[in-house]
């Protein structure tokens, strides 16, 4: 059994009924029968523990008096923060003992068809009431079988007058309030419920240092997803929040976060977030997956050939190197083998239609100033395009395709919080490595 850690510090408890089941749904339960069933449900507990329960009568206007345990039948939202959900689902709940106003209160869902020893579509009020009063007295859910404190409704417990609590429930209530014959409650230390033994100590497991190489660059894919930048490498990824800070210096495992990729995935070619419906697209080899949040949608993976990308020489593309949505025009760009394609992914109702645009592929050297075989691309901050390769990145200003000078910067330093390396010669122009460059000091 399990105890909530709370109990009544008295054994004479009062109860009252503040509303009864709707006659339209539960016609076989007049108010007096409900009172009788609830009385018997309390008796199940007072039979085995030194507790007594007294129902407070209604006043002359019919309003129920207050009491320790106030019972009501309510629907949906009923001002306690725990709404009901119509017929089925949740049936009832009760508040543990204590000093708060709601302590002990027991609420039944008035959308249920309550009955007495009822059939299959009805819910047996006695069975549920014994369970809920167990909570109102301080018991939590039990995993024992048999126990009335199991959380699931499993049909009527049987004949009310002959009902007896199972051993697990008897031990639980006697732990709190003692046994019927007057022995002290709970043995030697009544106010300290038994607690489970603490689990054995576990040494802190350090992450595999071989994967703690965020400062070395060479990312398989980089993506701007919901305003955060994800750097994928091998079977791991790092995540950079909108404010530019790293969620953790340690990488997270792709398989633990992105659910639905094949087991053993250790390289992602490209990722982007679709603009029209915010789904996330993963490319691995000749297949692609569409994710809704962090879970792959059913029906994926599907073949990359569906995108209809053919090289200028007519060969079907079987791998995507980079993918991004250019904020400048909202179009999707896919890169492979020194060429790129442009797609219009508009939304029509619930459907996203993907249309490959005319005039593509084009040569990636149109993006002047950046290397031709990049690792990945994102749109970031005011729509600028960020190109990533090895441990460097290049920024093309919003809408700019032909920028004269694009100076690469360090991914490690600017994105992944790595220390800056000692000054080194200015990086070479990726298109013309032998070109001489001068700077202020040289």
């Amino acid at each position: 059994y399990a105890l909530s850690g709370l109990k009544w510090h008295k054994t004479d408890l009062t109860w009252s009924v503040h509303s009864y089941p709707s006659p339209s749904l539960s016609p076989g339960l007049p108010d007096n029968l409900v009172n009788s069933i609830l009385t018997h449900a309390f008796k199940a507990w007072s039979d085995v523990a030194p507790l007594s329960f007294h129902q407070l009568p209604s006043d002359s206007r019919g309003a129920a008096a207050e009491g320790d345990i106030r019972v009501s039948f309510s629907r949906l939202y009923h001002d306690d923060g725990y709404p009901f959900d119509g017929q089925g689902g949740t049936l009832a709940h009760a508040f543990y003992p204590g000093m708060q106003e709601v302590a002990g209160d027991t609420h039944f869902d008035d959308h249920e068809i309550w009955s007495y020893g009822g059939g299959s579509i009805n819910t047996d009020l006695f069975t549920v009431a014994v369970h809920e009063f167990g909570h109102a007295l301080g018991l939590s859910h039990s995993s024992s079988d048999p126990s009335i404190m199991r959380p699931y409704y499993q049909g009527p417990v049987g004949d009310i007058p002959n009902f007896r609590l199972a051993l697990d429930d008897r031990l639980a209530i006697q732990q709190l309030y003692g046994v019927k014959d007057g022995r002290p409650p709970g043995g030697d230390d009544p106010d300290l419920p038994r607690l489970p033994s603490p689990p054995p100590a576990r040494p802190t497991q350090l992450s595999d240092p071989s994967f703690d190489d965020r400062c070395q660059g060479g990312f398989d894919a980089v993506a701007n997803i919901r305003g955060e930048v994800f750097f994928f490498k091998g079977a791991y990824f790092w995540r950079i929040k909108q404010d530019g800070s790293l969620v953790s210096l340690n990488p997270a495992q792709i398989k633990n976060f992105w659910i639905g990729l094949p087991p053993g995935t250790n390289k992602i070619d490209a990722v982007y977030e679709r603009k029209s419906d915010n789904k996330i697209i993963f490319f691995i080899g000749s297949q692609y997956w569409v994710f809704k949040d962090t879970v792959a949608m059913s029906g994926y993976p599907r073949p990359l050939s569906e995108w209809g990308m053919r090289t200028k020489s007519g060969v079907l593309v079987d791998k995507v190197e980079a993918a991004f949505v250019w904020a400048h025009n909202g179009k999707t760009y896919l890169f492979s083998g020194g060429e790129f394609w442009r797609f219009d992914e508009s939304r029509e109702g619930e459907q996203v239609t993907r249309q490959r645009e005319e005039g593509y592929p084009r040569n990636t050297n149109l993006w002047a100033g950046v290397p031709s075989h990049i690792d990945d691309i994102i749109s970031w901050v005011e729509g600028d395009a960020y190109f990533f390769k090895d441990n460097l990145y290049w920024v093309l200003k919003n809408g700019g395709l032909h920028q004269d000078v694009v100076t690469p910067k360090s991914i490690a330093v600017d994105w992944l919080r790595c220390p800056a390396l000692p000054a080194s010669p200015t990086a070479a122009n990726p298109r013309n490595p032998k070109e001489c460059k001068c700077d202020l000091s040289g």
Binding site: G89, S143, Y152, R226, D293
Partner: protein
């Protein structure tokens, strides 16, 4: 295996009944796969069905069984802290 919709509903169910910690506002609603599997196993053990860590038919059936709305696991760190504080005060 469970379709994504079932999966989201199961995660919601596991959170509601105390098997998963409440969503962290900093990480939105993202839970780890291992965490969810572990939660399913605990739920299966508690409910007396085979412990697979998967949303199999038996588990989904148990999740759709009418029940009490109180959580099965209420030993969250937050609650424990509150309880300890209350005990200390007493």
């Amino acid at each position: 295996s469970a379709v994504p919709d079932q999966y989201s509903r199961a995660v919601d169910w596991l959170s509601r009944y105390g098997y998963l910690p409440p969503p962290d506002p900093r990480t939105s609603k993202l839970q780890t796969k291992e965490g969810i599997e572990k939660a399913i196993r605990v739920m299966q053990r508690f409910g007396g069905v085979q412990e697979t860590g998967l949303l199999d038919s038996e588990t989904l059936k148990l999740m759709s069984t009418p029940r009490c709305s109180l959580p099965d696991i209420d030993g969250s760190e937050d609650m424990l802290r509150k309880r300890r504080r209350r005990r200390k005060k007493r």
